[in-house]
């Protein structure tokens, strides 16, 4: 790595770490632990989904026909592509191309915005049809035990996921801007790496949500 890069990177070294590699290693470990907590957070909801799917298999199957698969498929493509751009951003950052990295991150943020836009179209449709959770469920076309539960789970899980997309957009946007401003270099691009990990998790959760609600 270039000498100036190392010097600039050293400015980020905290007093209690002996060197940058150790610090980056600790940061990565911390991030993975945090991702584990996110998986467990969603895990509770997936367990609830599993239980209710088992109890109300037919109703859930019927309800899922009311969700439009093409929107979900589009969103899946959008998110997977944004994971690609994030991975590329990290690659560029590691090689010192900060401008490219920053732009790639901002593209990812835009993809997140597209995702949210599609979701709001879907939500609007569901509000209109009465496909709503719990006591708000008014869709006359499917009245069977467990019908409202499908939508409760749908809105809770995609809602929590959407919240994480928003947070991820904020994080990637911030780091994208910092990249463009030259705050990072090939010696210190840990934030880009960690932000990327978070975004990959957000993508991964969607990859589980998509089949559970749209396909089966």
């Amino acid at each position: 790595m270039r000498a100036e890069a190392r010097v600039a990177a050293e400015a980020h070294l905290a007093h209690h770490f002996p060197n940058l590699e150790q610090q980056a290693h600790a940061a990565r470990l911390g991030m993975w632990l945090f991702l584990a907590t996110e998986i467990l957070l969603f895990g509770g909801l997936f367990v609830a989904y599993g239980v209710y799917r088992f109890l109300y298999a037919d109703t859930f199957k019927a309800a899922s026909t009311l969700i439009e698969t093409h929107w979900g498929a589009l969103n899946t493509v959008v998110l997977i592509s944004s994971s690609l751009t994030v991975a590329l951003a990290h690659h560029e950052a590691e090689h010192g191309s900060m401008k490219k990295a920053g732009l790639l991150l901002l593209v990812s943020v835009a993809a997140g915005a597209v995702f949210l836009g599609v979701k709001s179209i879907e939500y609007g449709h569901h509000f209109h049809e009465g496909h709503l959770p719990g006591r708000f469920y008014t869709y006359a076309g499917l009245q069977a035990p467990g019908a409202s539960m499908f939508w409760t789970l749908y809105f809770l899980m995609t809602g929590l996921h959407g919240l994480h997309v928003i947070i991820g957009m904020g994080v990637l946007g911030l780091f994208g801007v910092l990249c463009l401003r030259g705050k990072f270099n090939e010696g210190y691009s840990t934030p880009v790496e960690l932000g990327g990990l978070y975004w990959h998790l957000v993508d991964l959760i969607w990859i589980f949500l998509f089949p559970l609600f749209y396909l089966i």
């Binding site: 199957k61 019927a62 006359a140 076309g141 499917l142 009245q143 069977a144």
Partner: protein
């Protein structure tokens, strides 16, 4: 010996043979527990005395365990624990398997009482009459929140849930009266949700059933032991009284506008009066409205309410007030939850959508 240990441990009488078996396991486990605790304490004490510190900085030898030590430390407790599990689980399976010839009783828990119904009648509350020497299966549910049907003398407990049935069973050995407690916290009346199992000789039980079924009184069961705490049902009483005194002719309880202000969310509401001033509808105002209705009238309403001065005794006013206070949009649900109505829509075929 059984009786001695039972008394030392403050256990209730053993109303069933199952209870006696459970107690025997209990004695085994608790005796070993006491021995183990004493053993560890005495060993520690002995070591402390024998190896007490003689100088502040003395050296000590390095002592490491052998594999045998750890095998004993693990093996002995594990063996004991698994033995207890085996005995206990066998007993539990017995509890979960009612005999085929058991007599059924339907139990419903609700805030804050137990109701019992026999197939073919009668129905009643608070006292569960059963014959001695006959297995009785309880089919239990709850009307609102989770309760737990607990008879200490039978070492018996089963949670009752809304929306489903749970079953348990017992066979009482001899006639007697055994308390029933609710063992799952359920609100204000949780500790007042008491009942009693009354075990009768078979002949007496049959006679009671026959007499109760033949009786013309709608609820043939005795309602009450002095254990029932009326404080828990003030709201219920108020509801009845409000209907009896005719309040509900002019005041709705669900927000519908009517001849008088609705009682829903009335308590502590800021009301605007005819003369332009504002009051808070607290206990004082509500009581005054019953006694002297024309004194302070809410704007938009006419002075048509009769006075109840001298007509309603104090405790009944309190009951009505409590009832009014309970009428909140976000209040505790005392009826079963009203879910969506599931009526199959003709022509809707899930496979086609």
């Amino acid at each position: 010996m059984n009786e001695l240990m039972r008394r030392m441990l403050f256990l209730p009488e053993q109303g069933t043979s199952y209870a006696a078996d459970v107690d025997h396991l209990h004695f085994f486990v608790i005796s070993v527990t006491m021995l183990a605790a004493a053993g560890v304490a005495i060993t520690a004490l002995w070591f402390f005395v024998r190896y007490r510190r003689r100088s502040e900085r003395e050296a000590t030898p390095r002592v490491e365990p052998t594999a045998l030590h750890e095998v004993i430390f693990v093996g002995v407790p594990l063996g004991l624990f698994l033995l207890w599990f085996a005995i206990g689980f066998t007993q539990f399976v017995r509890l979960k398997t009612p005999p085929r010839d058991a007599m059924d009783v339907y139990v419903q828990g609700k805030k804050w009482m137990w109701k019992f119904a026999y197939p073919g009648g009668p129905n009643g509350a608070d006292v569960l009459k059963v014959p001695a020497g006959r297995p009785v299966r309880l089919l239990m549910t709850s009307q609102d929140v989770i309760h737990s049907f607990f008879v200490p003398a039978f070492r018996l407990k089963q949670d009752v849930l809304p929306g489903r049935y749970a079953e348990t069973w017992f066979e009482a050995k001899a006639p007697g009266r055994y308390p029933i407690f609710c063992a799952e916290y359920c609100g204000l009346g949780h500790s007042a949700m008491l009942g009693e199992v009354e075990v009768l000789p078979q002949a007496d039980f049959d006679a009671w059933v026959a007499q109760a079924r033949a009786s013309t009184v709608a609820h043939a069961q005795d309602m009450g032991t002095e254990r029932i705490d009326v404080r828990a049902s003030l709201v219920e009483q108020g509801r009845t009284l409000a209907a009896e005194y005719g309040c509900l002719k002019c005041h709705s309880v669900d927000g519908t506008p009517h001849i008088g202000p609705t009682w829903l969310d009335l308590y502590r509401k800021k009301e605007r009066l005819i003369d332009g001033s504002t009051i808070v509808a607290d206990e004082a105002y509500l009581t005054e409205s019953m006694m002297d209705p024309g004194a302070r009238i809410v704007a938009g309403y006419k002075n048509v309410m009769p006075t109840f001065q001298g007509k309603i005794p104090g405790p009944e006013i309190a009951a009505i007030l409590e009832f009014i206070k309970s009428l909140r949009s976000d209040a505790v649900r005392t009826e079963p939850s009203k879910g969506p109505v599931y009526v199959p829509v003709p022509g809707y075929d899930p496979a086609k959508h």
